[in-house]
């Protein structure tokens, strides 16, 4: 078992109180597994991603543990977490377009970064990785502004995976790209996994159809909690949680003319995480909700092997 997260809670400290962005989530990612993490804005995807590598100043680790390759990660302690970063856990950020220092040549920056982590830069390896994502080697002698958006994205992917981390977190990395570039990036990620550059990967996105292309397992989150986690084809073909069902149903289908039939969404919006309601957090928008949903929170139950659902009706 590569990554095991147990009852992880991360809250944001704000003036109004604590925002419970991640409120008790448990899951695991196996070696060589790509976990797709899906959900709407504000469901805690990015909080989870950041929590696993570097929390920002407002985030607070409330409870739960994260175990990677048998070691417990000190995620709440910025200084003690540092040795794990880049070596064991790495990140491809949301903001790849501006992730590189604009006034340093890329090759020089990579060298300085790697050396600062106590590793000698292996030029040949770096060149091989550039070839893998079909970037010309000359990019190392260029400044970031001289690269296109897609090139910067691929360059950041190469940098982040250079030290062969056990876990790679890819946070919304395709949202700023056009469809064909999205495909190239997604393929490159799978290629990294297949080549053994990274052991397991968490691919955060709100684009379920893209996740389906590359992920082995998909985890759907809602309001800081796990809604459903299952192998990718199961989530898409036979979802059990009402939220996952509605999410899949709201995707456009090939061959249907939406001029005649309106594409349905999910009415309502997620609850405030400052003071979340008791019981199931989805019940206000759920067509199946009944009395028990308000009283008691549904636990994530393994309804069949590797298929977890947090719903009383599932």
């Amino acid at each position: 078992m590569s990554l095991t997260v147990t009852d992880l809670k991360v809250y944001y400290r704000t003036l109004k109180g604590e925002v419970k962005a991640l409120d008790g989530i448990s899951f695991s990612v196996a070696d060589n597994e790509i976990l797709g993490l899906a959900g709407e804005s504000g469901c805690g995807k990015t909080t989870l991603g950041k929590g696993l590598i570097r929390m920002d100043g407002r985030m607070k680790h409330i409870g739960g543990t994260v175990e990677l390759d048998g070691e417990t990660l000190p995620i709440g302690d910025d200084a003690r977490m540092n040795p794990y970063r880049f070596h064991k856990v790495s990140l491809i950020p949301q903001y790849s377009m501006s992730a590189m220092n604009p006034t340093r040549k890329i090759g020089k920056m990579v060298g300085e970064l790697v050396r600062s982590r106590g590793v000698k830069l292996d030029r040949d390896e770096l060149h091989a990785r550039l070839d893998q994502v079909s970037l010309p080697r000359e990019v190392l002698d260029r400044y970031p502004i001289e690269l296109s958006g897609g090139m910067k994205q691929r360059m950041v992917m190469v940098i982040s995976t250079l030290l062969n981390p056990s876990l790679l977190i890819a946070d919304e990395i395709t949202s700023a790209l056009d469809v064909s570039t999205q495909k190239a990036v997604a393929k490159a990620l799978v290629g990294f996994r297949d080549a053994g550059f990274v052991k397991s990967m968490i691919f955060i996105t709100h684009d379920i159809s893209l996740t389906y292309q590359i992920a082995d397992t998909i985890m759907v989150m809602y309001a800081g909690k796990l809604a459903e986690k299952a192998p990718a084809h199961t989530i898409v073909s036979a979802p059990r949680h009402p939220y996952a069902q509605l999410l899949i149903n709201s995707l456009p289908e090939v061959g249907v003319r939406y001029a005649d039939k309106r594409l349905s969404g999910i009415p309502g919006s997620p609850p405030s995480l400052l003071d979340p309601p008791s019981g199931c957090r989805f019940r206000d928008r759920c067509p199946l909700a009944f009395a028990k949903c308000a009283e008691e929170e549904p636990p994530a139950v393994e309804v069949e092997p590797d298929h977890f659902v947090a719903c009383w009706k599932a």
Binding site: L91, P102, T103
Partner: protein, 331 residues
């Protein structure tokens, strides 16, 4: 690259032309008649003699020509390096008077501008994201930068000069001395230099420190800093990158501030009766010395333009983005 500098030079040329023209106009449209002043100083009572002298001086300074001709003659003389003759210390050429004052102003300005910039940037960078230091640097910086140059100068002259008696309050060197290359004279020069330098340095320091502190905080919050931190890069590396990027706007700021700093230096010189260009301007105005005034202004304009041009060149060297923009970005 060549196109960029060509365009820059054209703009500087135009600025120079406009500045020289305005420079020529201002003293000429000032009320008062410099020749009358000279005649009054000569105390000649005979009306014929006065008339003869008036005719001589008017002709000498070229005031009898039509105004457009005076303007053209002015340019012609200027291109020959001739700034005219001073009215105040007649008949010394203006260029000699100015060259006597320029070393003092430069000795004051160059260290004050550069040191305050370097020290202010360092100080601001240290203060950013360090609570204790920030809480002292920020308020002190605000107080310093809000101070008018001459006011701080007066306070320093009073406190350290009159009350404490450590530094002399006026002049470029002691009245009892004659300029020579002895250690004694140089020491005296340095002693007289300290207070005007300190007042210029301190006021500018506050502004640079505050600007740098804000820029560093902005850079430390930026995406590349976050990415480096997420990959566990040490603070030292992140701060070094942030400093380098934060310095770029400060360089532009230096170019913009130069004019203000020069003006500040002039006023400070007057407070300390320091024998530089500032004192010269005051004397020129008091004595209706158009040529001296015009020459001094011209000198200052030239200085600011040259300094700006140097900063333009420096900017191209330190910011790769301006270079890439000139070459046309390669995909």
């Amino acid at each position: 690259m060549r196109q960029y500098f060509g365009r820059k030079l054209l703009i500087y040329g135009l600025t120079f032309f406009m500045a020289v023209t305005i420079n020529w106009m201002i003293p000429r449209f000032m009320p008062g008649d410099p020749v009358a002043g000279m005649l009054a100083r000569a105390r000649v009572t005979q009306p014929e003699a006065v008339e003869a002298m008036r005719a001589y001086y008017t002709n000498l300074f070229g005031f009898d020509l039509p105004i457009w001709k005076q303007y053209l003659n002015f340019w012609a003389a200027l291109l020959h390096g001739d700034f005219g003759i001073s009215v105040w210390v007649f008949p010394t050429p203006v260029s000699t008077v100015i060259l006597g004052a320029v070393p003092y102003t430069l000795a004051l300005m160059i260290p004050a501008v550069l040191l305050s910039w370097v020290v202010g940037n360092r100080l601001g960078a240290y203060a950013a994201r360090r609570k204790l230091l920030d809480n002292s640097v920020l308020p002190i910086g605000y107080v310093l930068t809000a101070m008018p140059y001459m006011w701080l100068a007066v306070i320093l002259a009073w406190g350290l000069g009159v009350v404490a008696g450590i530094f002399p309050v006026a002049g470029g060197y002691s009245f009892a001395m004659r300029p020579n290359w002895s250690w004694e004279f140089l020491g005296d020069l340095a002693l007289h230099w300290t207070l005007p330098f300190a007042s210029l340095f301190l006021v500018a320091l506050g502004g640079w420190a505050i600007g740098m502190r804000n820029m560093i905080i902005y850079e430390l919050e930026s995406d590349y800093s976050n990415y480096l931190a997420a990959l566990g890069a040490p603070q030292r590396l992140i701060r070094r990158y942030a400093f380098r990027n934060a310095v770029l706007p400060q360089i532009t700021g230096l170019a913009l501030q130069l004019g203000v700093l020069v003006a500040g230096a002039l006023v400070t010189e007057i407070v300390f009766s320091y024998p530089g260009l500032g004192s010269l301007i005051l004397k020129a105005i008091q004595n209706q010395d158009l040529f001296l005034l015009q020459g001094t202004f011209l000198f200052i304009v030239l200085g600011v333009l040259i300094a700006n041009f140097i900063i333009d060149v420096v900017y191209v060297v330190v910011d790769p983005r301006t270079r890439a923009g000139m070459a046309g970005a390669a995909a």
